[in-house]
């Protein structure tokens, strides 16, 4: 039913322009399921620590596709589509749990922990009548599996046989930063979700947008936790698929920047916190990095904001809705002081976060301004990088451009 015309015409400026229609077109959204979520990319599914025991499972999503991740009886991690091969019911509707076998509620077809169909109720009928025909082969009706890769306790899945191995996919730079945070056993301290009133890609762009961090999030620059004038930079990995933005406290020098003399229109002066502990870093990383925002293409994020460690998984919920799952953690060997510090600094993030509350607001502002579904494009000009390599500053939108380049590639746009 589709003509061969492209759904949208990308502007001739390339990824220095991003057509607004990407956030408003149902055709684009439908195509993303096939090209991005079923395409050659690794998608975060769960933390290994969420499935400590054999039989532990968790429900999640890749795009809008419901997925079961489970540690099977041999200890292996498997993932499969949570859609019964009989008539499409969610095979498992519990968020988490432990099961030896997944029995669909509708007609009790049973699937083992690898997704294999192991039981068909009344397959042989009753007293010799009814039941499944002989041509029915259970091996043709397993749950659709995903390939699995585990990197440092992070479980990823992919539908595509073309996705390269996880180490190659991540690239050495991304791996180095993952390793930095996932350097020893972690424990989960909190997990919650945030409903978003915007297309999922607006959130992913936002997380790669080093430009906004020190501007929109006034708390950051007002209280000096993160400024574009600090020592920091952007590290790209696997040709820019993934990025890390980092900075270091105690390296701030505002001279020669818009922070000087309060040139930024919205910046506040003279504010002081009654209890500065929310922003007081308890030293734990030797490299001096106090802020790491790392994205793994296409919908995953790892964060260190001082002592606040966490990951974020993005799930599209229709064209103009999304859900962001936040998981905050510490290390198993954290002492009480460190745990309390992480708890207090948790105020920085999430839907109520001192440095993230604004993202929910502003992305809603973008989606609302686009209700007209305009033909225009956004302008992504900051920074003059021509390839996606490391920069020693963050006054650039290069990581955003890199994102769109890889997105275009998958989508054929």
């Amino acid at each position: 039913m589709r003509t061969n015309e492209p759904i949208i015409e990308w502007p001739k400026e390339g990824v220095r322009r991003v057509p607004f229609k990407l956030y408003t077109s149902p055709e684009i959204y439908a195509k993303e399921t096939r090209a991005v979520f079923r395409g050659p990319a690794w998608h975060f599914l769960a933390l290994a620590v969420e499935l400590p025991n054999n039989g532990d499972f968790k429900n999640t999503f890749v795009g809008e596709i419901p997925i079961i991740v489970v540690r099977d009886k041999t200890g292996e991690i498997n993932a499969m589509v949570n859609r019964c091969t009989h008539k499409g019911a969610l095979v498992c509707h519990d968020k988490k749990g432990n099961k030896p076998v997944f029995t669909c509620p509708y007609h009790n077809w049973s699937f083992d922990q690898t997704g294999k169909l192991v039981g068909v109720a009344f397959r042989n009928g009753v007293k010799g009548v009814g039941g499944m025909p002989d041509t029915f082969k259970t091996e043709d009706h397993g749950l659709e599996p995903l390939r699995i890769a585990i990197y440092n306790g992070l479980i990823f899945g992919t539908f595509s046989s073309e996705t390269p191995d996880i180490e190659t996919y991540l690239g050495p730079e991304a791996r180095q930063f993952i390793d930095r945070v996932f350097n020893r056993p972690i424990k989960i301290l909190g997990q919650y979700s945030q409903g978003l009133r915007n297309n999922w890609k607006l959130m992913m762009e936002n997380t790669r947008d080093t430009y906004h961090a020190g501007i929109l999030h006034l708390f950051f620059n007002t209280f000096g936790l993160n400024r574009l004038s600090m020592e920091g930079g952007i590290v790209m990995s696997n040709e820019g698929r993934h990025h890390v933005s980092y900075s270091k406290l105690l390296t701030d020098d505002v001279t020669g920047s818009d922070y000087e003399d309060n040139k930024l229109p919205n910046m506040r002066k003279g504010l002081k916190l009654s209890d500065p502990s929310v922003g007081t870093y308890l030293p734990e990383f030797e490299d001096g990095i106090t802020l790491q925002i790392q994205t793994i293409f296409p919908t995953f994020l790892i964060q260190q904001i001082q002592n606040c460690l966490g990951i974020r998984q993005l799930i599209p919920r229709g064209l103009d809705k999304a859900e962001l799952i936040w998981t905050l953690f510490g290390y198993e060997d954290d002492d009480e002081e460190m745990t309390q510090t992480r708890i207090k600094q948790s105020n920085l993030v999430g839907p109520a976060g001192f440095v993230s509350l604004e993202d929910g607001a502003v992305l809603d502002f973008v989606q609302r301004s686009l209700r007209e579904s305009p033909d225009d494009s956004s302008v992504v000009e900051l920074g003059d990088e021509t390839d996606y390599t490391t920069t020693k500053h963050r006054v650039t939108e290069t990581a955003v451009r890199a994102y769109w380049d890889h997105y275009r590639d998958l989508m054929g746009l």
């Binding site: 301290l189 992480r342 929910g360």
Partner: protein
């Protein structure tokens, strides 16, 4: 007034303070070391210690309001609380353990209303100079999902 009525009186004043938008007065409902946390029942049941937000002490409570007023950017909005079914679970040595159902309707400046949160306050209340104060106010939400952003305290 019996204990339950005293607690109901406290809750009435507490939610009115918030709904009237007089957030600067909100920390006054807590003791100096007052603990305030918004966390879902699901997270609590899973033994998690981090929820949507936490304030330990009057300083952090005041900082929340300071940042809402000065650094946070979000669409103007207001809450309307309904409270119900206050139960006194324990009372001894001047410490009251009480719980109260709440529901919040959020209205944004475009006039849209949503049921923003529902759940139960789980409170530890002490008497301080003839006044009841929250030593701990746990806002236990029924949902582990927040719509868009959580600015104003619940």
């Amino acid at each position: 007034m019996n204990t339950r009525e005293l607690v109901e009186d406290l809750q009435r004043r507490y939610v009115t303070q918030i709904d009237d938008g007089e957030l600067e007065g909100w920390p006054q409902f807590f003791t100096e070391d007052g603990h305030y946390q918004i966390i879902s029942k699901e997270a609590l049941d899973a033994g998690q210690v981090i929820g949507f937000y936490v304030c330990t002490g009057k300083g952090m409570l005041a900082d929340r309001i300071l940042t809402l007023r000065k650094t946070a950017i979000y669409e103007p909005q207001s809450y309307r609380h309904m409270i119900s079914a206050t139960m006194i679970e324990d009372e001894s040595d001047g410490v009251i353990i009480a719980s109260t159902n709440f529901m919040v309707v959020r209205t944004t400046q475009d006039g849209d209303m949503t049921v923003f949160s529902a759940g139960r306050y789980r409170d530890t209340i002490v008497m301080d100079k003839d006044e009841l104060l929250f030593k701990e106010k746990l806002v236990v939400t029924d949902s582990n999902k927040m719509d868009t952003l959580l600015a104003i305290p619940i």
